[in-house]
């Protein structure tokens, strides 16, 4: 992949990949709010991930150019902090908490079984791009251990059955509704 | 099992062995050259790839172990050596660190076998599966399995260092390896 532009890190970035996006404006706003200072890097990456779901290389390049931060530094920050992900998430995200209380409550076994069921390791997305399986260090919901987050909703007192049911629901629900919900941008907000 | 102490006239019983190595350390041993001849009348080489003994004897004073540990068979040998030898010397980098032999550790054993016996084979590609010892997933140094009394690193260890160790053992003193050895 040869460099696309002559001075890449500092070139004025061509708004990038998927679409000429409203989402880019959110990112721009975050940077503007911080006066395009290099110390806004983490805040900006948060905005990118919030808007796009992950940190796309082209977007990292874009942010690097705007904030005048070296490319390698952007990549370093993006990979140092585990909250950031460089891969697009699946349609659904299942986060299992691996905190102490959840561990004592049997989270490790649930995770093991779910990994086996989905055929992926934590941090990966199923081949059909349907489900991303993630782990959290601690959700701070220790009173409800074992806990997890299913598409943004915290669920407590998990058992293997509840997790498996939820995952199967995602799978079958989508199989039934694939066509009808096809034009909806965010499936979960569809009526 | 106790051994009577030796009078100076008595010869020191020495053994050497190859596990997973290239024999380079043994070559270096021979590089001691004429000094070896001088030492010869105080040494009895009781077991070695370069002498014609089949079984490891008892009451060995010193064993030089060349090579890393890669199989069940190697471990059996090590235990046999350890229980019949007063002092064990890890002889050369493979014995001390795993060295070249352990470079396969980064790959799965299956991959390594595939590459060496099938992909790179020019004649009758076939993975050996009979009458050979079971290979470990990871190659490890000697001290991962038995106590080692002296480490003699180097690939190979220089003849001078080997001679110093031999002399020290004969003179019942600590070898002075400072400046004489290094890894590699």
């Amino acid at each position: 992949m040869p460099p696309a532009t002559a001075s890449p890190a500092l070139s004025s970035p061509s708004p990038s990949p998927a679409a000429p996006d409203k989402r880019l404006r959110i990112i721009d706003r975050t940077m503007r709010l911080h006066g395009y200072a290099s110390h806004a890097l983490i805040e900006t990456l948060h905005a990118v991930q919030e808007a796009f779901g992950y940190l796309d290389p082209d977007l990292m390049r874009y942010v690097a150019g705007r904030l005048k931060v070296p490319l390698s530094r952007v990549y370093a920050v993006a990979t140092f902090y585990h909250f950031f992900t460089l891969k697009p998430p699946g349609e659904h995200t299942c986060v299992l908490c691996k905190g102490t209380a959840c561990h004592i409550g049997g989270a490790a076994e649930i995770l093991r079984q779910v990994e086996a069921m989905l055929g992926v390791h934590a941090g990966e997305t199923t081949a059909d791009k349907k489900i991303s399986l993630m782990i959290a260090r601690c959700l701070g919901s220790c009173g409800l251990a074992p806990a997890g987050v299913f598409d943004g909703t915290i669920v407590g007192n998990l058992t293997l059955d509840t997790v498996v049911n939820k995952l199967q629901e995602w799978r079958s629900h989508d199989a039934d509704h694939r066509k009808s919900a096809g034009d909806c941008e965010n499936r979960d907000r569809c009526p | 099992m106790s051994t009577p102490s030796k009078s100076p006239a008595e010869k020191m019983r020495i053994a050497t062995i190859w596990l997973d190595g290239c024999s380079g350390c043994h070559m270096s041993l021979l590089d001691i050259d004429q000094r070896l001849v001088a030492a010869a009348n105080r040494i009895d080489l009781v077991f070695s790839p370069i002498v014609d003994t089949r079984t490891y004897p008892q009451n060995v004073d010193v064993c030089f172990i060349e090579g890393a540990v890669a199989s069940e068979e190697d471990v059996e040998k090590l235990h046999l050596i350890r229980s019949n030898t007063r002092r064990v010397v890890a002889f050369g980098d493979c014995a001390v660190t795993g060295n070249i032999s352990a470079m396969r550790n980064r790959f799965a054993l299956q991959e390594v076998m595939q590459r060496s016996y099938l992909e790179n084979a020019t004649h009758q590609p076939r993975t050996p599966d009979r009458d050979i010892p079971h290979l470990f997933d990871k190659v490890r140094p000697v001290h991962a399995f038995i106590d080692v009394d002296l480490f003699l690193p180097g690939c190979p260890p220089p003849a001078d260092a080997i001679f110093e160790v031999l002399s020290a053992l004969l003179e019942d003193r600590l070898p002075d390896l400072a400046g004489r050895v290094r890894f590699g």
Partner: protein
């Protein structure tokens, strides 16, 4: 234009009058714990039911913060009836609203004389479950921002610091450094620009005290920071909060906005020259950013790798300026101390550990949730009286405090007072207040392995002892729990613990061996059983599998 104390009092009065105009105030917990059990739906259905029964004039539903007993959420409490309900479902709304004038709904009743409530002493959490976290008026009605007024208008910075020093307050983030001393250092630093940072990067797995405070009483943190800013001479503050706490982030954002609108943040606060502004910074999933120098690096948008200290942040911190860094709970103690005086605070707790401590009870304990007790409260009282003991008739084995930097306290120390020194004596630490209770179903080697895996994956990788040492330690623990270890591995384990603890650059590495050291100290027999007999008494470790694989 600028806010006066009269304005404040007026807001408080209006708020109280409005509230008292309702005959019943139904307080629904909307902190994360109860929200995840559906308390927002409960709130909606209660409001719907009130409309349906035409009781809008008599009842008001309030969204309040954490009521503490997360185990049985969603929780609601009804004042002035002094009735609390647990495990409330939306379908219960008709019964609840219908019973307001009669007998309470017995199937949902949560006894309010329950030791869980009666044995606690609340300072940090005094507003939790009382004020509405999303409304500044509610906080003001509870006496909020009076302490700030008092500090700005009636005290010199030196006097504020003297009060904090006299209170004996020590850092609640873990190390227990005297707060007054820290404030004094920043106060004395001769530099125009100074900063106050609130460390809300609650990273210890098993700790959720800070989360609850932020979600339930965010203005308390803002007020504490502003007072701190006045005392040390800083005009800007940052709250570094975990991105994993979206609700806390949202409520903090709202609270900061409200505070600015009202004028308790901004220029000329309470008509004084003092100006203070607070910004939020989101953490991004790195435990090491709880370390002060790493936290500063992260606020500056850099990699959260600690740097050697000295210089300490109090002298050389954010952008090279003197910086005061205090944890959420520490800051939440400030307003009450200013309001009621350092001596009052110093009258609570033990000789060297003053005040109260919030603990997050979790693990194998009946009443999981958040509690606040005076320092020095015996562990037994916490576990068995307040916590309600161990479920399913099992035996108490140990409690783990201090997370990955802490240790475990076995049963023989159940009568120990919970304070900084006593915990240190038995090889644990106070830490931030996470308390994981373990029953006889927990394998202590597995627990040690769990924490070492945590430290290994949270190590920033800068210094060798921590980066490689934790990986080596984890490897050995993995071999032990797989039944694949030799007896000499125990020596290597101890030796590595010593090395990593002594030679690592920052607190993460220096304390990473603690869970291993502590479990070795009290449960070495379990390690031995794993190694010698390939036996895990708790049945947690799958020892057989490893042996089959090698066979």
């Amino acid at each position: 234009m600028t806010l006066t104390i009269e304005n404040l009092q007026e807001i408080a009065k209006t708020e109280t009058d409005v509230l008292e105009s309702y005959r019943y105030r139904i307080n629904v917990c909307v902190a994360a714990g109860c929200l995840s059990c559906g308390s927002d739906a409960v709130k909606a259905s209660l409001e719907e039911e009130i409309r349906r029964q035409g009781k809008e004039k008599a009842c008001r539903v309030r969204a309040v913060g954490c009521l503490g007993l997360c185990a049985v959420g969603p929780l609601i409490d009804i004042s002035p009836l002094n009735v609390a309900y647990q495990g409330v479902q939306p379908s219960d709304a008709p019964d609840i609203i219908g019973s307001l004038t009669g007998a309470p709904v017995s199937r949902l009743l949560l006894p309010t004389d329950h030791p869980f409530f009666s044995r606690q002493k609340k300072i940090v959490l005094e507003n939790c479950g009382i004020v509405e976290p999303e409304r500044i008026e509610s906080y003001i009605a509870a006496g909020g921002y009076e302490a700030l007024y008092q500090a700005l208008r009636q005290m010199s910075p030196r006097q504020v610091i003297d009060d904090v020093t006299a209170s004996g307050l020590r850092g609640r983030g873990g190390a227990g450094f005297p707060t007054g001393l820290k404030w004094t250092t920043v106060y004395k630093a001769q530099q125009a620009d100074k900063y106050v940072v609130c460390n809300a990067d609650e990273g210890d797995p098993g700790a959720f005290m800070d989360r609850s405070v932020l979600e339930s009483d965010p203005h308390r943190v803002i007020e504490g920071m502003a007072i701190a800013g006045y005392a040390v001479g800083a005009s800007r503050g940052y709250i570094y909060v975990r991105a994993e706490y979206p609700l806390a982030v949202e409520r903090l954002r709202r609270a900061i906005k409200q505070a600015k609108q009202l004028g308790v943040l901004g220029e000329n606060i309470f008509n004084t020259p003092f100006a203070f502004d607070i910004q939020l910074r989101l953490g991004a999933g790195a435990f090491v950013c709880g370390e002060e120098t790493a936290l500063i690096a992260s606020i500056e948008g850099r990699l959260g790798r600690p740097r050697p200290r000295p210089p300490f942040p109090a002298e050389f911190g954010l952008w090279g300026c003197p910086t005061l860094i205090n944890n959420v709970e520490t800051i939440a103690n400030i307003a009450p101390i200013v309001r009621r005086g350092g001596d009052w605070f110093a009258g609570i707790g033990t000789e060297k550990s003053k005040g109260t401590k919030v603990f997050a009870l979790a693990g194998k304990i009946n009443n999981t949730g958040l509690i606040e007790v005076p320092m020095g409260t015996p562990l037994r009282e916490i576990v068995f009286d307040i916590g309600g003991g161990i479920p399913a008739g099992r035996r108490f084995k140990a409690v783990q405090t201090g997370g990955p930097s802490g240790g475990c306290v076995p049963a023989q120390f159940l009568d120990m007072p919970m304070d900084y020194e006593s915990l240190k004596d038995v090889g644990a630490i106070m830490g931030s207040g996470g308390m994981i209770v373990m029953d006889d179903g927990a394998c202590m080697v597995d627990v040690a392995k769990f924490f070492m895996e945590f430290c290994m994956s949270e190590s920033c990788g800068k210094c060798v002892p921590c980066r490689v040492g934790t990986a080596q330690l984890f490897g050995i623990l993995e071999r032990i729990t797989a039944g694949d270890a030799k007896i000499e591995d125990i020596d290597t384990l101890k030796e590595l613990c010593d090395l990593v603890g002594a030679a690592s650059l920052c607190g993460l590495g220096q304390t990473a061996p603690n869970p291993v050291k502590s479990t070795l100290r009290y449960f070495e027999n379990e390690y031995m059983a794993h190694i010698r007999r390939h036996h895990c008494e708790a049945g947690v470790c799958a020892m057989g599998k490893a042996r089959e694989d090698t066979a």
